[in-house]
Subunit: 358 residues, 2 copies
């Protein structure tokens, strides 16, 4: 299948959060409609979608009806139940593919895959019980972080081991869920590459952004990132290698640690990525449109940066700053339409736009 | 009323075309929802709106229900029937106001208003019958254009008089509708100012764009326009004067002819304007968001241009160029989701983005 989806077709999106919302808007720019599938009530993406199905991921009838009403299926998050995918893919193609989901849904599988490609990762060990934990601490050392293998995001499902004495408490925190002990990497900063590959196998990458996290949540992405020309080349090439290996279709976020001994892959996300939000105001074609182009079989667009951008997430109480941000120069505000502000919840972001410097 | 509309409020938009569509997207960025009122089936704006009412402008029940479900009302076109406005405004505020609509709905009223402000317009005369026509031709001279006073757009409802011999045929073309004979103005080029005024009376203007029309339809807008610093100042000041005089709330498009003896106002449009589409890729805050900010009582945003832009409309058969435009560098594509391509129909536009030159 390499013929592009005709104008006016409907793209089904699993997940109705802010990523689905911005995917919907991008799809509309290309003349497509979107249909959101989301279990939660009043999802942000529903406000700008042509259709919305509110149903659980185990509702076979709803999944079937949804699939039959759309022309292709994509998603905004990687933790889609396998049983739902089984139903959906009997009706329509799903991009990115199952293999990308399988690998990114499990930290152990992901790191093993990356190492298999010859890429560097943090040291890691599988932890399913106390015996594994002892072996893992011996192998990886401390300090280290124990993370649930599945369903972790924004720093959730993680416990830090400063010394071996913290091992038992950390293991208890996992509540029996399979986990991964990750060693610390000594890195100067983190960057990410937002890469895209379309149905025809074309690959394009946006300029890498430099990320700053706090409490496990992304706070800012600055473009351009501090990288030498050869580091930038390495970053883009390794991202392309991951996408090609997976026969991937869509946008992927690849987080990298910059170290004196090269780039280390932190994690991959098989979807549009928070660290790519800067592209909305820095490029002619943003990551959301690039993803829609990829999954509909259109050519990838020009992701060249026309401006430098600092993206800052608005998290929880940051919403109090909105009145000031509305008046700030060079500042593009993007709110997600979430009615309830909660501490730690991503409510929006701003892109501060500057003339391109390099 | 100067308190901004709370996040999560719903903006009612009369008209479901591409302008309503892009207003909906802009409203979502500010955390608002939109509800479209449109008589036609499958309107472009419906694909990205939270709600859609499909009903005629004489459907009192539908108008009432619509008004009761929204928090403020705006519109994407000026020819809204007065009777519909009478019903709507008993329930909710409408921005821009009735006076702006009354003036812009009738070319005679509009030109009289502009002259009353001391602004220059083309010579004009009212024509309702053959006797008026004789007097008008004597007063205005030829060549001239006879235009219906109401409901004209994109060159429709117009007849050209090259000589006085064309008068009778031109009058017949009007089919009895009141018309205006406009003399020709010798101008070097046309520019437009997209100006905004909010509920608090703040005014902001985008950089003027230079427009090229063909067959009465806008083809391209180029920013920056060819203007001297003093012409640019004049353009912005006269636009602000119009908005202030009308106690206007929202975005207005002001078309100007550049002549050796100064700027002449061609026409005003009390809404977002095709010649302002370049702002989507040239500014942190575009004309659609500026309009939503204005009518919701938010502060106006920074409409400073970060990039130069050439906007080109995609009309009818121009859609055949979409495959090439998808691959073109520095090119942002905006399609309107119209299912049927018709000759002369606006189907989308592209913004070609260049580094800012001045």
């Amino acid at each position: 299948m390499t013929d592009p989806l005709p104008l006016g077709s409907t793209i089904g999106i699993l997940g109705g959060g802010q990523l689905g919302r911005m995917l919907s808007v991008a799809a509309s720019r290309l003349g497509y409609r979107t249909h959101i599938f989301e279990p939660g009530a009043n999802p942000p993406a529903g406000h700008v979608a042509d259709a919305l199905t509110t149903a659980a991921y185990d509702d076979t009838a709803a999944l079937t009806a949804f699939a039959e009403q759309v022309d292709v299926i994509t998603y905004e998050f990687e933790n889609i139940p396998t049983t739902a995918l089984d139903i959906l893919e009997t009706h329509r193609q799903i991009h990115p593919n199952r293999e990308a989901l399988r690998i990114s849904q499990d930290r152990l599988t992901e790191k093993t895959f990356l190492q298999g490609l010859g890429l560097s990762t943090a040291p890691f060990a599988n932890v399913e019980n106390a015996q594994d934990m002892d072996a893992a601490v011996n192998a990886v050392g401390t300090p280290a972080i124990l993370k649930t293998r599945r369903f972790g995001y924004d720093g959730k499902g993680q416990a830090r081991l400063n010394t071996t004495d913290d091992a038992a408490a950390a293991l208890a925190d996992m509540a029996g869920a399979p986990a991964l002990l990750e060693g610390f990497v000594s890195f100067s900063h983190e960057v990410s590459v937002i890469a895209a590959r379309n149905l025809q196998g074309e690959v394009a990458c946006f300029d890498p952004g430099e990320n700053v996290h706090s409490d496990g949540i992304l706070r800012t992405t600055t473009v351009p990132a501090r990288l030498t020309a050869s580091q930038r080349m390495d970053a883009v090439l390794l991202a392309a290698r991951i996408l090609n290996e997976l026969d991937y279709v869509g946008v992927m976020g690849v987080e990298l640690f910059v170290t004196t001994s090269g780039l280390i892959v932190n994690e991959i996300a098989p979807r549009v990525h928070n660290s790519g939000h800067w592209t909305q105001n820095g490029c002619a074609v943003d990551q959301f449109e690039q993803h829609i182009r990829a999954v509909t079989g259109l050519p990838l667009g020009d992701g060249q940066r026309h401006s430098d951008v600092v993206m800052e997430n608005l998290i929880g109480e940051d919403m109090d700053r909105v009145p000031d941000l509305l008046r700030a120069p060079e500042t593009a505000l993007h709110l997600y339409g979430k009615t309830e502000t909660k501490s730690g919840r991503k409510m929006g972001h701003v892109n501060v736009i500057k003339a391109r410097t390099e």
